[in-house]
Amino acid sequence: MTALTAPRPRPLAITAAGVVSAAGLGLRPLGELLAERLPGHAEPVGADSADYPPRAVRSVPGFKLADHIGRKKIRNLDRLTGFGIVSTRQALAAAGDMPDDGPDDRTGVVLATNTGSIGSIAEVAQDALLQDRPYLVNPSRFPNTVINSAAGQIAIWNRLHGMNATLAAGQLSSLYAFRHALIALGQDRADRLVVGGGEELSAVLAWGWHGTGALPDHAPLGEGCAMFTVEDAERRGGGSALAQVLACETGFYGLRKRLQSRSQGLSNVIGRALERTGVRPDEIDLVAPGATHHVGLERIEERGIRAALGRMPEQLRVADTVGETYSAAGAMQVAGVLAIWDRRPAARPRTALVTAVGHDGNVGALLIREAEVA
């Protein structure tokens, strides 16, 4: 077996975006805050807001699912699922889909989440542990605790019958979702995918992060969901698009390897993405790093980027505005890049590098190029 000959990957066209974040709904408010380096909503929300540990947060303010999809059949939908349905609807609407369009057999969903809804899990656990009879969990709520619940509901509410994936890869989850979309669409497993990642903040999740020491107290925890409609760019031919994902490369540098090897690993995957696409290091206009504020990892990520590019381009710190969104982080970084490009138009198409480094040893790099100005 010869080593991978690295053929050029078939690029993905991002045709539309939907975003629910601490900045608000959509790309525009995100772009406004990023341009001014301002934070999104910086207080906990919800019934458990008094139970949070003393640390920075970015939460989605005033989110009511009924405002978006009506009051029917939503009683049992959790917050993560609500974010997913709304961001997917936004993206599909922006892509030209109508709410009353019929079933779509060739559009699928790829959602990144590591745990599903922790709020739902805590609720069912409460039932199972504190009630007299341990089996008296609410059968209408139990399915919410299964990790693929949000992706299933996104498909139901948008009548998407194509492939349906729920992917977990720690900090890299959303980048892996894009990578999966690249490969699946390249193999013609679907015509179109709605791809992205979601995370739901709660007091229990905040306490979970708080104890690990992975993020300092001033590093905000965040939540939200960013979803993108994507198609194989070549099969799609012309038509308007926001951008193209040119490549998404990943690697694993696990526990038996020295921590420093992750910066080399990140440099390798960036190098592979550049090599496979023919993009030169000096063509990268913007970097959206993923390890913002992460103890130990932030410097490793920076070193990896410098090693691959020979310099550090302008950086876009999306997590300062929307918080650390873990499963959704890569999708939020892509949203941030699209939002800032939209906010500050340029005469020529720009290219950005989105990176991620996980405490588990996963590293990844995604190359994205702005669409030609029509």
Partner: protein, 406 residues
């Protein structure tokens, strides 16, 4: 450079950690003999539960199997996955150094992720006033740790991805790994799945009315539901040329797969959608229904699943479908590992020449009259092409197709 076209992909290594045996040979021998491994639950306190049976891996000890992981650092699902993958690597006879040097990764499926870790965290949260959570457990909790466990155990540097598409997750993982290898994105891939029996899944299925009291009886007139189960299953996917060049034992070729989503209801399966998934799998594998010699059923043993599955099978195969059986009758519903165990037994069925049985059958449901569910014990046969069903919560259907390499 001319496009060489997609590579043919074969299965050259099998690993299983199951309630009826550890290692693919022990697992397959027990299944072939119709051994029922479901027993009273020992993994959590069942007092207060009316139904107390499950397919657990009793006395699971990963330490003698694993070379690189410290079991204390990982959750039960990750340890089941890593153990199965280590066994698959050994079974394949592949050079360990090659796994480390080449672009080799792991795609592992799961339903509930590190559910035993989540259970302990939930107990800390509910019972503690201080809202303190053990950071070691928090680090073990993400579902991603299942693939991470495999990558760390085998020192892999390629894709490390957990697929959490519930009870079809192993099949989804196999399909994705197949695409990674056939396109050359990866040199080799491990794929499979893992889940652990736990209090919340058991309670949830009971609350849904889907749990059986004593045994799981797929296709039986008196079937009452599932038994929860656990385990780890892993398969090594390798390019055919590479396998031949190193003289590897080839169990079967991955011919293709089909994937779709019901997008109608979270827990009720949909026959038309399952039939569409089967047709997609046949198109992907470039076969006709008449080519299929055996179907490894999803076969959960709930009244609804089995009726819906057979309806879909008849829609695609007509009134005389090939033999179809459910290994869940013996190991319970191992959730994210279920279609991984199905894939392992499909490969063994092709390589060793038998059809896996449906155990516990007393009286075939009259609605399934004429159906060959291979009751009791396995039967000698020579299946050339088999299909492996995986259906899930959220309407996630994935069907993989395996064929003999001649």
């Amino acid at each position: 450079m001319a496009d060489p076209g997609p590579r043919r992909v074969v299965i050259t290594g099998l690993g299983a950690v199951s309630g009826v045996g550890v290692g693919a040979d022990a697992f397959a021998a027990a299944i072939r003999a119709g051994t029922v491994g479901t027993r009273p639950i020992t993994g959590f306190d069942v007092s207060g539960f009316p139904y107390r049976m499950a397919g657990e891996v009793h006395d699971f000890d990963p330490a003698p199997i694993l070379r690189n992981l410290d079991p204390a650092d990982w959750g039960r699902s990750g340890l089941l996955a890593a153990s199965a993958a280590r066994l698959a690597a050994q079974d394949s006879g592949i050079d360990a150094g090659l796994l480390e040097r080449r672009r080799v990764g792991a795609i592992m499926g799961t339903t509930s992720g590190e559910s035993t870790v989540a259970s302990r965290l939930a107990e800390q949260w509910v019972h503690s006033e201080l809202k303190r959570l053990d950071p070691r457990l928090v680090g073990q909790a993400p579902a991603a740790q299942i693939a991470s466990a495999v990558s760390n155990e085998l020192l892999l540097s390629g894709d490390s991805q957990t697929v959490a598409t519930a009870c079809s997750a192993s099949n989804y993982a196999l399909g994705y790994a197949y695409d990674l290898v056939r396109t050359g994105e990866a040199d080799l891939m491990f794929a499979g799945g893992a889940d652990a029996v736990n209090r919340f899944t058991h309670a949830g299925f009971f609350a849904l009315g889907a749990l059986a009291e004593d045994v799981c009886r797929p296709f039986d007139a008196d079937r009452a539901g599932i038994l929860t189960g656990e385990g780890g299953a892993a398969l090594l996917l390798e390019p055919l040329e590479h396998a031949r060049a190193r003289g590897a034992r080839i169990y079967a070729e991955v011919l293709g797969y089909g994937v779709n989503c019901d997008a109608r209801h979270m827990v009720h399966p949909d026959a038309a959608s399952i039939a569409a998934c089967m047709r997609a799998a046949h198109r992907s594998a470039a076969i006709d229904p008449a080519d299929v010699d055996y179907i490894c059923a999803h076969g959960t043993g709930t009244p609804t699943n089995d009726a819906t599955e057979i309806l879909a099978v008849r829609e695609v195969f007509g009134e005389a479908p090939p033999p179809i059986s459910s290994i869940k009758s013996m190991i319970g519903h191992t959730m994210g590992a279920a279609s991984g165990f199905g894939a392992v037994i499909c490969c063994k069925a092709i390589a060793d020449g038998f059809l896996p049985p449906t155990a516990n059958l007393q009286r075939l449901d009259p609605a399934f009259a004429g159906l060959d569910v291979v009751p009791g014990t396995g039967r000698a046969a020579r299946p050339d092409i088999v299909q492996n069903h995986g259906f899930a919560f959220g309407g996630n259907n994935v069907i993989t197709v395996f064929g003999r390499v001649s």
